[in-house]
């Protein structure tokens, strides 16, 4: 028998489990379900709901299993009359003050209290006293509160403090007067605040935008991927008919655990605003509606004589990227660009992806943030850094002196601050250092030697070793890593977008890239393939409607290099056509080779060509590593952060009413600060 195991009995069944577990965890391994409200495996143990009572032999009273450590020879009983009576008693107390408003409660149908009351509740109340009523609290534009329903499990309080890293929620008062609230009823300022809705076991915290919209059993559930940052959080899209009603997380321990950012959770109302539903053509400086036949005919004629360039946007899936690449290769080389933000790369995979697996960030004891603001660029990665910080990791920051929800040691705004003595000293001591270099620097690098120097620096201080690579490149765009793997970029390693100017392109095809509006294309014929009408579409000569990521299937490669599939949830709006089918049509007109007739054929052709991508949900292996030179030389580059406003970072969020409310109510404006001072 190993030292770490104990022999216990659960309902007379003998079992060997890890001795560091609690009674509840052991019961779960044994397949016994224990009811609970306050216990959550991602949060600290509170032990205040008392619902998880079990009987332990020789213990005089029932014991709360979530707080009880295991002991050798322990005999646990989970199904006796005594246990049942105890849980029934707890349930009766919980229901004393819980309102009977299930018919109008948004949690109805997916409520822990409702479910467990089916097992342990009574059919009528023995209490004649008035129920207590609690004033609802303001928690911002996202979380709706009906505080009378609260059973004080404190999951939300623990989440805010331990996971989101914003200790703003708390329980005031005690006993009958206990109330959950934010400090002075201010909005929660976390990018992960929406997760308290999933955590709440009752209907006290529910989604404000989803309020009174639907019942869980009417919804169609589609598995998908968060495309509003590069992490690729796993999401479940709930829709009814042709409308998405809410977005919730799917558990993926390797990526987002159980959390998603507020942007993907709440910006879905933007999916249906300002949509491009039919093709448009610009005639006499005015956009007017058109037909597919007419617009494609014009496009074909233009393509015949003009030199084309394709821009690949932030939300483009792998299949579309592949089709674009295939089509554009007929016109020559170096005419597709996805790095519209000027991101500098070396040719190999490890120079543009996040090389540390996301679930290993927390093991690092020293993290250097180089020109990145993970809090608003990728809230999930920020949570992982916060975890490392709580494990006593030191965090250094170079770039702007940004405010994060943990303490950082600020070293200055230049890349050369990497040579800071304090940092070098700490690096030499560190056993598992990690560097995250973000777009604020990457997009400004003019000399590729700087990027190589960063590799050398990482090599020198054991950030890159034989068996691990902790030099990470962070960009906030969902499509980027996948498109770079497909080679949808030009040969210039740094400043690729600015250098396009010299190439004298005459027609620009933008696949959802707003950079088509850039001045450098003012003399070009512009074609916009996209779903939302904004500056990019306004400036274009032809607008072709394409579906949103929820309206088609597609693979997205996340920042780690992990291909994941987003599935179609409902049909495209209007006459939108998938990009690959438009390209197929154009290819036929030009008699280019484009074999796939269906989306499935396109995908299988793609996965045949890029065989390493066919292992969905697995991180790509890296065969070629970037060369490391010996002398280290950093150029002085100015920083420009890619995202300044978390809630307005992309064209879809910009069109979301909920996101506008977030900007108004959560982000402190100067005038508001003055008021409170």
């Amino acid at each position: 028998m190993s030292e770490n195991l104990v022999n216990i009995k659960i309902n007379q069944k003998e079992i060997q489990v890890d001795k560091n577990l609690t009674v509840m965890q052991a019961c779960e391994i044994a397949g016994e379900e224990i009811p609970r409200f306050c216990y959550h495996d991602k949060l600290s143990i509170a032990g205040n709901c008392r619902m998880c009572l079990v009987e332990i032999e020789k213990a005089p009273k029932l014991v709360s299993s979530c707080t009880m450590p295991l002991m050798e020879g322990m005999s646990i009983i989970t199904n006796s009359e005594k246990v049942n009576a105890g849980r029934k008693g707890v349930m009766e107390f919980l229901l004393i003050n819980h309102p009977l408003d299930c018919p109008i409660c948004d949690q109805g149908g997916e409520c822990d209290l409702q479910d467990q009351a089916m097992y342990y509740g009574f059919d009528k109340s023995r209490y004649k006293e008035n129920k207590r009523a609690v004033d609802n609290k303001n928690m911002g534009p996202l979380v709706n509160t009906i505080m009378t329903r609260c059973i004080h499990c404190t999951r939300c309080v623990r989440f805010a403090t331990e996971v989101a890293g914003v200790p703003e929620l708390g329980m005031l008062g005690r006993g009958e007067n206990a109330e959950i609230t934010t400090y002075l009823e201010q909005s929660i300022t976390s990018e992960l605040s929406g997760n308290v809705i999933d955590l709440c076991p009752v209907g006290a915290l529910t989604s404000k935008p989803y309020q009174f919209k639907a019942r869980p059993w009417e919804l169609k559930r589609t598995d998908s991927i968060d495309i509003f940052d590069s992490v690729g959080s796993n999401i479940r899209v709930d829709s009814r008919a042709e409308e998405i009603l809410r977005v919730t997380p799917r558990t993926n321990e390797f990526i987002n655990e159980e959390w998603i950012s507020d942007k993907v959770r709440f910006n879905y109302d933007g999916y249906y605003q300002q949509r491009i539903d039919i093709p448009y053509i610009k005639k006499n400086q005015k956009l007017s509606s058109s037909s597919w036949e007419e617009s494609l005919k014009i496009l074909k004629n233009k393509l015949k004589s003009l030199k084309p360039l394709a821009l690949v946007g932030e939300h483009v899936d792998l299949e579309t990227g592949y089709a674009i690449n295939k089509f554009m290769s007929n016109f020559g080389k170096d005419n597709v660009e996805c790095r519209t933000d000027n991101q500098a790369i070396l040719e190999n995979l490890d120079s543009y992806r996040f090389n540390t697996p996301l679930n290993e960030i927390e093991n690092s004891d020293l993290i250097i943030l180089l020109g990145t603001n993970p809090k608003i660029e990728t809230p999930i990665i920020n949570h992982k850094i916060f975890k490392a910080y709580n494990n006593n990791s030191r965090i250094f920051n170079i770039g702007e002196n940004i405010s994060l929800n943990y303490q950082t040691e600020y070293l200055g705004e230049k890349l050369s601050n990497l040579n800071n003595e304090k940092l070098i000293k700490a690096l030499k001591k560190s056993s598992n250092p990690l560097i995250i270099i973000g777009s604020a620097f990457l997009n400004k690098i003019k000399n590729i030697k700087t990027l190589k120097s960063i590799f050398s620096f990482a090599d020198k201080y054991n950030v890159i070793t034989k068996d691990k690579n902790n030099l990470n490149f962070l960009n906030p765009y969902a499509s980027r890593v996948g498109q770079l793997i497909l080679g949808n970029t030009t040969k210039n390693l740094c400043e690729p977008f600015s250098k396009l100017k010299k190439e004298k392109f005459e027609i620009v095809l933008s696949f959802g890239s707003e950079h088509i509006a850039s001045e450098q294309f003012d003399n070009c014929f512009r074609v916009y393939f996209g779903h939302h009408g904004d500056e990019g579409a306004m400036k274009s000569d032809i607008i072709l409607p394409t579906p949103l990521y929820t309206e088609k299937n597609g693979i997205f490669v996340n920042i780690e290099g992990r291909p994941q599939e987003a599935k179609k949830c409902h049909n495209p709006i209007g006459s939108a056509k998938e990009e690959w089918s438009i390209i197929k049509k154009l290819s036929e007109e030009f008699s280019f080779v484009f074999k796939p007739n269906t989306f499935e054929q396109l995908r299988s052709e793609l996965l045949k060509k890029y065989a390493n991508l066919s292992n969905l949900n697995e991180i790509l292996s890296n065969d070629n590593t970037s060369p490391i030179i010996t002398d280290i030389e950093f150029e002085d580059c100015k920083t420009q952060y890619p995202i300044n406003n978390f809630y307005m970072s992309d064209i879809i969020s910009k069109n979301s009413v909920t996101m506008v409310k977030c900007v108004e109510e959560i982000i402190p404006t100067p005038s508001l600060l003055e008021k409170s001072a």
Partner: protein, 195 residues
């Protein structure tokens, strides 16, 4: 106890005046914090709340909470939680003299009800109210630990024990007139010796 007890409300308010520690308090804070191990300075939140209440005319304003949170570098909501949990931290302004009447069984058996009525009449205010001249706030509390000398009341930091209606009225009147009072037993008992 009704919800209007100044120590049991969850609603805090601003005083509108900046709260900064007095010199003496800064000294005692240093002393208090040094009693706790390094990294556990936040344990000093209760004594600091007490000091703040003393300095801030017997109540905890939002300004006090923010100052304490800053002093101990802890989240404001954590300070608020503690201040709202304990009934002896007042969350709203009280009169110059906070009169706490014990109403737990031993005092009650010895006639605390009469004392309550006398005090309410003498100060012209109801339970949980503050008198118009802002001299008195009257509250009922649970056991203050002087059961053998009941009925008893506490005014600010002083106990007044072995009360009857007359002695109670006298105490209140003396306070009104600014005269000194005998602290402790009103019957001349020392400590809790046999009557």
């Amino acid at each position: 106890m009704s919800g209007n007890h100044p120590g049991l409300s969850n609603n805090f308010s601003r005083s509108g005046v900046k709260f900064s520690w007095s010199k003496d308090n800064l000294k005692s804070i240093k002393n208090i914090i040094s009693k706790y191990p390094k990294g556990r300075e936040q344990s000093a939140v209760m004594p600091l709340l007490y000091l703040a209440q003393e300095q801030n005319h017997n109540w905890i304003s939002i300004e006090c909470i923010e100052t304490i949170a800053e002093t101990l570098s802890m989240p404001k909501i954590r300070v608020t939680e503690v201040a709202s949990f304990y009934s002896m931290y007042n969350t709203r302004p009280v009169g110059e003299n906070l009169v706490q009447i014990c109403r737990t069984s031993p005092c009650w058996l010895r006639g605390s009800n009469k004392i309550t009525n006398t005090i309410c009449k003498a100060t012209k205010c109801e339970i949980n109210d503050t008198s118009e001249d802002n001299k008195f706030t009257v509250v009922e509390v649970e056991c203050l630990g002087a059961c053998s000398n009941g009925p008893m009341i506490q005014i600010n930091n002083d106990f007044f024990e072995d009360l009857d209606e007359d002695s109670t009225k006298k105490i209140i009147d003396n306070i009104k007139e600014g005269k000194p009072n005998i602290i402790g037993s009103q019957k001349g008992r020392r400590s809790s010796e046999n009557a």
